[in-house]
Symmetry: C2
Subunit: 289 residues, 2 copies
C-alpha cells in the first residue's frame, strides 16, 4: 500500500482492499465504488463527485479488464496512465484506488463467469461485442464483492452497461445500490470517452455529429414525434452528413428492459455507435423519462 501526498491510498491486492474495507465498515462508514478502466477524464470525475457526495468512503478501481474485450478489440492499445489517474482521483478527494494486475483478478485456475441471458445483452453493443457484457458482469461482481460497496456509480454513456449491471445486481441479490450519472460532454457536445484520445483533431471535430444527431431527435421527440422509426431516421440522416462517420448502429429500445418499441410511451433509450475513422464511439439519450 502506498499513499500519495493527497492521501489517496493505492491498493494492488484484494487483501489490501478487504483490510481497508473492514476497518471502514467497523467504523460505520458507507462505501461508494466507482469502477473504471483508467485513462480518467472529466466524465469519470462526475462519478467520483457523485460518490463523494453520497458515501463516506469512495473507492475507485482502475483496471483494464481483459475479459470484456473481444479478440480483435483494443485491449492492448487501450490507454493506460495510472500516475495521471491517481493525481486526478486525489484531487477529487477519492479515498482509495484499487489497481490490480490481471493475475490478481484472474489467477491461474480461474473459471467463473456471469452471464445475463434474458435478451438485454443481445442488442446494441451486446450484439456487436460477443462476450463483452459477460466480462463486465464478472468483473463488476468481483469489484462489488471485494469492496463491499453500499453504492456503485456508473455513467449513462454506457447505458446498456447500466441496464445489465442493474439486472444482475437484482438477480443475484447483491446488496448494492446502482447509481447512474448523466453523460458528461465537452463544450462541443462530444461525449467524454477515454477512446476520444485515439482521434485526430479533425476526427474529434467530425465526432460532434453523434451528439448533434441525438439532439435533433430529442427535439423532435419533445415536439411530439414519438414514432421510433422516424426518430431513428432523423439520427441517421444527420450522421450521414458527416463524411468521416460510419454508422455501426442507430437503435431505440425501452429502458432499462431494452425491448423493441414502435411508439414511445415509456422511457426509451436512443443509442448509437459510430466509427469516426478507426475509432468506435457510442452516445445515447433517454427519451420520455
Amino acid at each position: 500500500m502506498n499513499e500519495t501526498k493527497h492521501n489517496l491510498k493505492i491498493f494492488t491486492t484484494v487483501n489490501e482492499v478487504r483490510a481497508f474495507v473492514r476497518e471502514q465498515k467497523q467504523a460505520g462508514k458507507t462505501i461508494g465504488l466507482c469502477p473504471t478502466m483508467g485513462a480518467l477524464h472529466e466524465g469519470h470525475m462526475t462519478l467520483m463527485r457523485a460518490a463523494r457526495k453520497a458515501c463516506d468512503v469512495v473507492i475507485a478501481s482502475v483496471f483494464v479488464n481483459p475479459v470484456q474485450f473481444g479478440p480483435n478489440e483494443d485491449y492492448d492499445k487501450y490507454p493506460r496512465q495510472f500516475d495521471a489517474d491517481c493525481k486526478k482521483l486525489a484531487a477529487e478527494g477519492v479515498d482509495a484506488v484499487f489497481h490490480p494486475t490481471p493475475e490478481e483478478m484472474y489467477p491461474a485456475g480461474y473459471g467463473t463467469y456471469i452471464t445475463v441471458e434474458n435478451g438485454i445483452t443481445d442488442v446494441l453493443c451486446g450484439a456487436r461485442r460477443p462476450g463483452h457484457f459477460r466480462g463486465v458482469a464478472t468483473v463488476v461482481t468481483k469489484l462489488m464483492n471485494i469492496t463491499q460497496a453500499d453504492k456503485a456509480f456508473f455513467g449513462q454513456k454506457d447505458a446498456q452497461q447500466v441496464a445489465v449491471v442493474r439486472r444482475f445486481v437484482a438477480d443475484l441479490n447483491i446488496p448494492v445500490e446502482v447509481c447512474m450519472v448523466p453523460i458528461c460532454r465537452e463544450a462541443s457536445g462530444l461525449a467524454r470517452s477515454s477512446r476520444n484520445s485515439y482521434m485526430t483533431a479533425e476526427e474529434k471535430q467530425a465526432a460532434v455529429v453523434l451528439s448533434r444527431s441525438l439532439r435533433k431527435a430529442k427535439e423532435a421527440f419533445e415536439h411530439g414525434e414519438h414514432t421510433a422509426e422516424t426518430l431513428k431516421t432523423i439520427v441517421r440522416a444527420e450522421l450521414e452528413t458527416e463524411p468521416l462517420a460510419k454508422i455501426d448502429y442507430v437503435d431505440l429500445y425501452t429502458y432499462p428492459a431494452l425491448l423493441p418499441v414502435d411508439v414511445i410511451d415509456e422511457p426509451c433509450l436512443l443509442a448509437i455507435a459510430v466509427y469516426i475513422g478507426k475509432t468506435r464511439l457510442i452516445d445515447n439519450v433517454i427519451l420520455g423519462d
Copy 2:
C-alpha cells in the same frame, strides 16, 4: 414472518431475510448459512450442528431449486415436507429458515446465471447433469448474498459441489468461508440422502454396496495401493456383486481441482454414482488427505 414454538423464524421473502440479517449484523453477530433442498435427514442435521457451533446465528434455506434440475430429472418428484423440516430445524436450535417460492428467487425477467468453466464441472455429476452446477452456483450465490453469511456449510457427500462452490466463491471474491462437513451414514454404511426415500426396503439393503465398495478401496489405499486404475477396479468389482446396482460412474480425480490422476500422491476424490433400481445414488471417499 411466522414463528414456531421453538423460535424458528420462517421467512419466505428476500426482504424478510435482509431485515433479519441487518439486525443481527448490527448486533455484531456472525451468520452461518446451511443451504438445503429440504426433506431434511440426519445428514443435514450435521450441517446445522456445525453451523450452530461455529456461528452466532444459523440460517437454513429450504428451496428445491428448479434451475439445477435437468428436464428429465426428478424436480417434480423431489420430496417436499416443509412442516417436518421446520420441526427438525427448531430442535437443532436453528434461528431462521428461508423458504422462498421459485417466483421469489427467479421473478419475471430473471436472466443471470453463473458458470464455472475451468473443467471442474465437466467430470463426474457435471458431465452427466448438464447445467446442474450452473443452477447450483447461481442459487448458492444468491443465498450467500441474501444472508450475507460469514460461513456456509455443505456436505462432503456432494464433494464435487463443494469443489465448485469453493471455486466460484474464490473467483468472485465472495466474502464467505466454505465449510465441508463429513458424510453422514446410516449404521449400514449407506450415505444419508433425501433420495433414499425413493427406495424400497430391498433396494435400500442393496444400496449398501456403494459404501462397501468405497471402504474396500480405502483399505487397499491404506495398505499401499495408490494406482488409480486398480482402486477403481476394486470398486467396480464390488459394485458388480450386487444385481440391483447399475454403475453410472466410478472415477478418481485430484481434489478439489478434479484433475485426472494415475498415481495418487495428493488428496484425491474417489467418487461413484450408481443406480439402484430407478434411484440414482452418489457416494465418495477422499483418499490421502
